[in-house]
């Protein structure tokens, strides 16, 4: 009942079970069968399913996305993985002009069931070209679905659902979630795309978080609770289509909205959520909405700079208190002297 699995193991289990159930599922990506196995998420698959269904590939992300698409057209269910979102920028054309549109533009005659797994790098000097978080781009494109799981449980169920889906699904994993464990049932299950999850209930403010920022939001909610502020935290889970109803229902109750996203604030996912809520629930909203995310510049490499680049729970606490008209507390989350902000946990000793 209380089987603990890491997020990375949950991804592996979902892939394994999907491949076991359906011979048309295959996985391809740079390093998929290598000894590191995409941060552990593909380990052992080659041995179990053979080299035809578990493939490495040339350093040709654009063509290989087209290859995945083509195979999907005739009934395969490819999963293509990229170790950083940044690397997949060379493959935008295939994802956006092609995969997203073949069903619509051929009047429903083509189907493109494929999953594109991409990882958001962070920490240990990933720097400007290994740390981008581009979910807003994909979410802007009709025809794509965009998923960002937060927990290991959801990682497994959402990946299974993404593989079952008959459309191109962009599946974005945050590197800092890979090592976090959660209760994960052993049997195959899916978590439906498009449904958010309320992580904790509250009445004063709604905090919508994506991916790793949902965890920071939850931490913030605990701290806020200690100070008598009741925050409801919603893990968005799917960015496109996103669960408008769950968010609106919550804001109708709380009257206040904070969105915490892993990406840049400007023209990001948080803008869409704020705009949609204000369009629909203008009368319910009691205070100016707040967006929390990355500042409007690239990510620097030096830890001395990068540590200040990423907002954390303390920042959310600060903003919510300001929103509620409470005294600001600046020392919300004091750091221990040996705490490092550029690694997911103390067991990590460099490089990713």
């Amino acid at each position: 009942m209380d089987r603990q699995l890491k997020f990375s193991e949950a991804i592996l289990e979902a892939t394994d079970q999907a491949m076991g159930r359906d011979p048309s599922v295959y996985i391809v990506g740079l390093g998929v069968p290598d000894p590191k196995g995409i941060f552990g998420t593909t380990l052992g698959l080659m041995k179990k399913y053979g080299a035809a269904r578990v493939q490495d590939m040339p350093l040709s992300e654009n063509a290989m996305t087209g290859v995945a698409l083509g195979s999907a057209l005739v009934g395969m269910r490819p999963i293509i993985t990229h170790q950083r979102v940044d690397f997949a920028l060379v493959a935008m054309e295939q994802m956006v002009n092609q995969a997203a549109k073949w069903h619509y533009m051929f009047g429903g005659k083509a189907k493109v069931p494929m999953v594109v797994r991409m990882i958001i790098g962070r920490g240990w000097g990933q720097g400007p070209q290994h740390s981008q978080s581009l979910q807003a781009w994909f979410a802007h494109v009709p025809g794509l679905k965009v998923v960002m799981p937060t927990t290991a449980h959801d990682a497994k169920g959402l990946l299974a659902a993404a593989i079952e889906d008959n459309n191109p699904v962009i599946f974005i994993e945050h590197r800092w979630l890979h090592n976090i464990s959660d209760t994960v049932p052993e049997e195959y299950y899916t978590v439906p795309l498009g449904k958010a999850r309320t992580m904790c209930e509250g009445s004063d403010v709604t905090i919508v978080g994506t991916s790793y920022m949902a965890l920071e939001s939850l931490r913030a909610a605990k701290l806020l609770g200690e100070a008598g502020i009741s925050a409801e935290v919603i893990d968005l889970r799917t960015i496109r289509p996103w669960d408008v109803e769950t968010v609106l229902t919550s804001v109708r109750k709380t009257g206040r909205l904070v969105v915490a996203d892993t990406a840049g604030v400007a023209f990001g996912v948080s803008a869409e959520i704020v705009a949609t809520v204000l369009e629909h629930e203008f009368a319910s909203v009691k205070a100016a909405p707040i967006r929390i995310g990355l500042p409007d510049h690239p990510c620097p490499t030096s830890p001395a700079l990068a540590n200040s680049y990423y907002p954390r729970a303390g920042r959310i606490v600060l903003e919510v208190r300001r929103m509620m008209g409470k005294e600001p507390i600046t020392d919300a989350l004091p750091l221990t002297s040996d705490q490092k902000l550029d690694i997911p946990d103390a067991s990590f000793t460099g490089p990713f």
């Binding site: 295959y26 654009n62 063509a63 087209g66 005739v74 395969m76 002009n97 051929f106 009047g107």
Partner: protein, 326 residues
């Protein structure tokens, strides 16, 4: 022609080529009415390459193409009425009006789709071949592309992958010397670059006269047979010429990117007329027979135009449907 005695095949090939010519001329004729409200890229002048290549395929084999795809669609057996209706933007179109001329599809005929972002269907075709190989299916894929498309990175990535995996695919390059109005010499260097790229990857490649119907057919048959037998991919570069403007129904030799003389020299090498002469000279067919074929085809095409014109517009409900597959 592997069997020079096979006159039935010769007629079939000729008819296929002539049919493309007549369809394209008919589109050019009606375009001025402004009822076909989408870009059209006609392949008049290139019909031998298209008819000869597709005739080497079986129905179960697959074809993909780019912006200039009418000929490939037709030669692979795509439904003519559905194509005309698609160009007219009608509900009966092969893509329900959503695609237009640049997005033809006919799954029954094995024409999996065309898309006009240059180069983009090349890896998609490789993916189709990859699937056929993974499932051990007896299918060959042919993807059509132009000389311009051989300058895209994705072309090269696809050649590398197809060669690496020994995929059952034929890359069919129609080299018509132009990418829109840009001649070869502002885009690439050397007369054998395209085949040499394939050969650099260990892929068999040939350059040939794309206006010679029998030669095209023979080369393609060899490449398809090889692919079918597990011999892997080939690239064929067929030299040919587009007669009309890059996009649209007219002639544009007057605007200055190429000379009328160049055009006329290619018009003399008209693949349709040349093969017609050959058929008659070799006693395979007579002028009256050929005239009858042309007449029948014209009737068929006019019927398709009428069908398209009379077809209803797509229902407005379909505007926002088919965004996601169930």
């Amino acid at each position: 022609m592997s069997q020079p005695s096979d006159n039935r095949l010769r007629f079939k090939l000729y008819k296929e080529m002539l049919r493309i010519r007549i369809v394209e001329e008919t589109i050019a004729g009606y375009y001025g009415e402004q009822e076909m409200r989408c870009p059209v890229h006609l392949s008049i002048g290139q019909e031998a390459a298209e008819a000869g290549a597709c005739a080497a395929l079986e129905q179960r084999d697959y074809v993909l193409s780019g912006h200039r795809s009418h000929g490939h669609y037709l030669a692979k057996g795509g439904n003519l009425k559905a194509m005309m209706a698609e160009i007219y933007g009608k509900a009966t179109g092969c893509a329900g009006g959503k695609g237009g001329s640049m997005h033809l599809v006919d799954l029954d005929a094995g024409f999996l789709g065309a898309a006009p972002i240059v180069g983009s269907t090349i890896p998609i075709a490789a993916g189709v071949a990859f699937a056929a190989q993974m499932r051990n299916e007896d299918r060959v894929v042919m993807v059509f592309l132009g000389d311009g498309a051989t300058e895209t990175g994705v072309f090269f990535e696809s050649i590398n992958f197809a060669s690496l995996k020994n995929l059952p695919i034929v890359f069919l390059v129609e080299n018509n010397f132009y990418s829109v109005y840009s001649p070869m010499n502002v885009r690439q260097k050397g007369d054998h670059r395209i085949v040499d790229i394939a050969r650099a990857h260990g892929m068999e490649a040939h350059q040939a006269d794309g206006n010679d119907l029998e030669c095209v057919h023979q080369l393609c048959t060899q490449a398809v047979t090889k692919a079918r037998g597990g011999g892997g991919p080939s690239l064929l570069e067929l030299i040919t010429y587009r007669w009309r403007e890059h996009c649209g129904p007219g002639y544009d030799n007057d605007i200055g990117y190429r000379t009328e003389a160049e055009f006329l020299s290619w018009k003399e090498r008209d693949p349709v007329a040349a093969y017609e002469r050959k058929l008659i000279a070799n006693g395979v067919g007579t002028q009256p027979e050929i005239d009858r074929i042309a007449k029948d085809l014209k009737l068929e095409v006019e019927e398709a135009v009428s069908f398209a014109k009379q077809s209803p517009w797509p229902d407005l409900d379909t505007l926002s449907t088919q965004v996601y597959a169930n």
